[in-house]
Symmetry: C2
Subunit: 411 residues, 2 copies
């Protein structure tokens, strides 16, 4: 197989030429399950909010003209003829010279065009004295004043939280249409890795990537399908990849993509369908052996086995695609600016990513401190890094105190 | 019942005197369910990482002294005596004058104290020519170099994401102890509210709060227990509250706390256990009728019926307590700084909260634009506000272009 190292931008282009990320479907979901889901329909109000004219105060519903000229010295005298409670349809109609007791939120009875606040009245048996004139429409919230029937209130692609769910509830909707959450199969390969929870045979190490990448899928708003660890054996790998392609919309594997004789992943990928491998090696550090395939119109990201490299490449390539597959319109902001604490050099001819920890310095500036990667594969690097800083292929170095953009692993 | 309006700080103090938020329990959880959970134990490494000395390159395992003095012109000649594969225990021992083929990550055989990179060697049948000397320990990652057995790697109270889960996996742990997620019962009361999904009778409106507050509980890392809508009737309310107290660690209700004759919530709360109502009215705007009770050592937050007020008070009082009950140590940062677009005045003698929408102005500054609240209860206010700005009781106003802290409803 011909291996041409692509630049990161070329790799992104090739992936984009082969695959346009979009939601794999739409499903009806109840409001209780709608939090953090992406709306798959525009929501148009099917009723006025409020649905009827409501009183905005506790007091008396009147005809405004009956109060004209009333003041402290010369109250208007009206006859009380009933009460409107909240949540009850209005039965009583108000005619000239009469008033109806009303509470905040209760529907305005027929014939009424204003409400007098209880503070401006005095009541003696059936007589109501109004000490302050009210204008037409005073203390009344008109039907549709908040949301008009037919108004578009929420849009396709919006991520719903408590407030948007409140809007759906206000319209009486107990469910709505949401994009299906993309399912992402995750598996690890390699003769040296053992699943956590089992006894560790001599010469082996525990698998990290299937668990950390499953969690990274969740953090990208996808649903992980954990498949576990598979040996570097062609038949086993083919079986595992077939299962992954059947059970998910996208597949993420790690390990088996270096140049060793046992790295059968690219061959396994090519054997399963056309076009097979579309990216085989990227000029980045770390992450060079990254392989990407398209099989049955589904993307397979085969990441390096080193945990930090695997997570970095997941963030660079897989995460944006998973997020687009959720149907969300707005990009999630996973970047902060910080000052570099050290001069850092790129690897020759490769776009280089420096793992950094964010801290506050003495003057309370946010600074990015490189995490010593030491020997690749270090778990502590993974645990300590909050994100990474990019150095372009043609850039000489990032200087100490230079302001950089840090891409965060997690908000 | 005696109603004394407390300031917001007094209300917080009273709640704190009665209730110290802490997790309600600990449960063992698998790594696949550990994302966004809070660790309830310190994690100490039970093995070295790596568990054995590993090669960090592809090449040949040797005794360093056998290569001393070797260079391009005068290679050292060694006898090849086998291969160490990745994931296999080392059987071959290396003696003076011999070398063993080794791949990256494979365990270092006995007798070896350095690895020569394959690029610096030439192979002729069983003879290996080494063109570059290696120092002792060169290209070897020692057992425990990354994490030492006995080292504390994660702490109680840490929120786990993909990277921390990777650390647990590296140690072979398939599960760990996590704090129980606090369960929060949510119910709405009021004669005027109808559950979404049902037909809307005349004079009624759809309930918003039980759904928006359930989502707000999720956004606070709690688990909502949705109980629905109950009428303003003493017996029904008592039954609902009893059910809520049984099914959850904390209860959030809305409606039924204004001064109307039908606002039976405070009475219902007082009837269910000691001390009953501990806060009955707070000098804030909006949110004045807020009532808080302690029953059977559980907190009940009875919020106002207006959706914006309910959500605001939830954020001010309930959310910090729910978050503390998750066991998390670090506070979530839900604040940003922005410039006010308008001069805003507080309500007399009350701490006032202005709902704002965040925008970028022409010079790309983040600005906070007040959302017209209009008549209280407006749903559109809720939908448009990204957060709120506080004006202290004794503050005259917030000026236009003044920098303010915006507390966000959601990250």
């Amino acid at each position: 197989m011909f291996r041409k190292l692509l630049t990161l931008d070329e790799a992104r282009q090739v992936i984009h030429q082969h695959f346009k990320p979009k939601p794999s479907g739409v499903e009806e979901t109840t409001l209780l399950e709608a939090c953090n889901r992406v709306l798959a329909e525009d929501i148009t109000a099917t009723l006025d909010i409020p649905p009827f004219n409501r009183s905005t105060v506790d007091g008396y519903a009147v005809k405004a003209e009956d109060t004209f000229g009333a003041d402290e010295n010369k109250p208007a005298r009206l006859n009380l003829c009933g009460t409107v409670n909240i949540g009850e349809p209005t039965k009583t109609a108000v005619t000239r010279g009469t008033a109806v007791e009303i509470v905040t939120g209760a529907p305005i009875p027929e014939g009424v065009d204003a409400v007098v606040m209880v503070e401006h009245t005095e009541r003696k048996d059936n007589a109501l004295y109004v000490y302050s004139a009210v204008a037409k429409d005073e203390n009344i919230m008109k039907a549709g004043a908040d949301i008009k029937k037919g108004e578009k209130v929420l849009k396709t692609g919006q991520l719903l939280g408590s407030r948007e769910i409140g809007v759906l509830a206000a319209l009486g909707m107990a469910k709505a249409k949401f994009y299906r959450i993309p399912h992402v199969a995750v598996l690890s390969t390699g003769a040296e890795v053992t699943e956590p929870g089992r006894r560790l045979p001599p010469g082996k190490i525990y698998d990290i990537n299937a668990y950390s990448l499953s969690a990274a899928v969740l953090e990208s708003s996808g649903k992980p399908v954990y498949l576990g660890v598979f040996p570097d054996d062609m038949a086993e790998l083919q079986k595992a990849l077939k299962q992954a392609l059947t059970s998910a919309d996208i597949v993420v594997t790690s390990g088996g993509v270096s140049v060793g004789p046992k790295d059968v992943m690219p061959q396994a990928l090519d054997s399963l369908g056309k076009p097979g491998v579309i990216v085989c090696g990227i000029a980045i550090k770390p992450g060079k052996p990254t392989t990407v395939a398209l099989i049955d119109k589904k993307l397979v990201f085969s990441l390096p086995g080193h945990p930090t490299s695997a997570l970095l490449v997941f963030h660079l390539l897989a995460r944006p695609i998973i997020e687009r597959m959720t149907g969300i319109k707005a990009e999630k902001n996973l970047r902060v600016k910080a000052f570099m604490t050290m001069r850092m050099f790129p690897a020759k001819g490769r776009r280089t990513f420096i793992m950094v920890k964010l801290k506050r310095d003495k003057s309370n500036r946010l600074v990015a401190e490189p995490v010593p990667t030491g020997l690749s594969g270090a778990i502590t690097t993974l645990a300590k890094a909050d994100g990474f800083v990019e150095i372009a292929e043609n850039q000489q170095y990032i200087d100490v105190n230079e302001q950089v953009v840090v891409r965060l692993f997690k908000r």
